[in-house]
Subunit: 239 residues, 2 copies
DNA sequence: CCAAAAGTGTTTTATATACACCCATGG
DNA sequence: CCATGGGTGTATATAAAACACTTTTGG
């Protein structure tokens, strides 16, 4: 694979660099105050200038798909070090107005943050939207988001990926709020804690929360190594 | 959408008809004698002439992705009326030797049959292979097959799609064998029957098997309408 | 009458659910 | 000392697992 540089606006690419008709789009989920959010850009380019859209862009020749998603995310939002997973391709003939473009959706669960966000040259604004209070989206991006949300919900129940949304050290309440936000439900606190602790995936730390005006909660850490070992022995995460 | 005619060999398409670099591949699963099989073609064209491959071909302009999968399946195998679902895209830069080709995998579960199979002009042979006894496959098709198999296994546990593999009227033993083959496990007969019947998805018919040299089994039918209704009420199929 | 698969219930064990109060801390 | 969220256990209900024999049919 040829290393792709982060190149900014799509206007900087020569036509021969771009695989015609194939793009990647990024669905970036974050959790803020118990609410599931998704990162959107206000388009600064035609078509549909001024409307909100998922971050994304064309795939370059010699660029792996996942790398393309990472690069376009960086080019449009400034975000780095986001590990994304493919959802599926979306290829409706008329999904893009000017010509046929097949897009491949990638999603990520990340810690909610606004500090390293800066809209790239193709966007005039960038914003985390509550998943249940979305603006109008361009093209088929609403559809892509819905499919991805379902994908996320099914994934989050069968694999311990939810931890990606939390800081390395987190409280059980944070964890519960995460699952409640993503799955749009509520859990009984005692039962939730029992279930998760019985899995033995969480390391209890000798540390507690600081800076809270009430009893400080104990911190836990997710241990991917333990998960790997358990998985090899036939364990499956199920929420 | 423009209706696409079934056109046979890819050599019949003009270059401007074909979306460069995007293809669909079909993973067709069938069940024969309690064994999960997959349909493969022996390539009659370069590259990799003579090797086994998944049915597939290039996506045409103005052709929906799913339609492309259906059409290429028909062109290469003669099969019609196969409903396929997307797995994901595969786009490794070097997956295809001559140029970059991104492929989108679709899979189907169908009744095992050999009668309407006839290799198209791009294949010299067509064959159902046992999933645990596969030949060498071209390109990344082995990888695509593995990913799809996992996809199938996870899908089949959470949605009643397994019934696609059976004739409309089937016995509970056939159903159990199906799940055992797909999930590569065994179930206790009494528990399996109890579980499935309790879901109320199966209509018991007043008919039995014929032509067997032992007690004839009762026939059942899957009722998708009932499933829809139950699903709306919050029921989820879980095996 | 025999071979071959169909069909059937109960007990035990494990998991899921429901539910309410005291604890620790910072302000 | 009080407001705020942290943390805990038990009883009940439901679901999963284990297990073996009788029935029906065609040949």
């Amino acid at each position: 694979m040829v290393q792709t540089k982060f190149a900014g606006s799509i206007l900087n690419f020569k036509p021969e660099d771009i695989i015609p008709a194939v793009s990647t789009d990024c669905i970036i989920f974050g959790l803020d105050d118990g609410k599931l959010k998704v990162l959107l850009l206000k388009r600064n380019i035609e078509p549909s200038l001024g409307l909100w859209a998922l971050p994304g862009g064309f795939v370059l020749n010699f660029e792996e798909l996942e790398m393309s998603a990472k690069r376009t995310l960086h080019d449009t939002t400034g975000m780095t070090n986001v590990f994304m997973e493919q959802v599926q391709a979306f290829g409706q003939v008329d999904r893009f107005p000017w010509r046929r473009v097949i897009t491949i959706a990638f999603y990520a669960l990340i810690k909610y943050r606004t500090d390293d966000l800066r809209a790239g040259p193709d966007a005039s604004d960038i914003h985390w939207f509550d998943i249940s209070d979305l603006p109008e989206l361009v093209f088929d991006h609403k559809h892509i988001l819905n499919v991805t949300l379902q994908h996320l919900q099914s994934k989050v129940r069968s694999e311990p990926i939810g931890f990606e949304l939390l800081p390395p050290k987190f409280t059980l309440t944070q964890l519960q709020e995460l699952y409640e936000a993503v799955l749009r439900t509520t859990f009984d606190t005692r039962n939730f804690r029992k279930k998760l602790l019985k899995m033995n995936l969480l390391e209890q730390l000798n540390e507690t929360q600081t800076g809270v005006a009430h009893r400080a909660a104990r911190l836990y850490r997710f241990n991917p190594g333990i998960y790997q070992k358990l998985k090899e022995k036939g364990f499956t995460f199920e929420l």
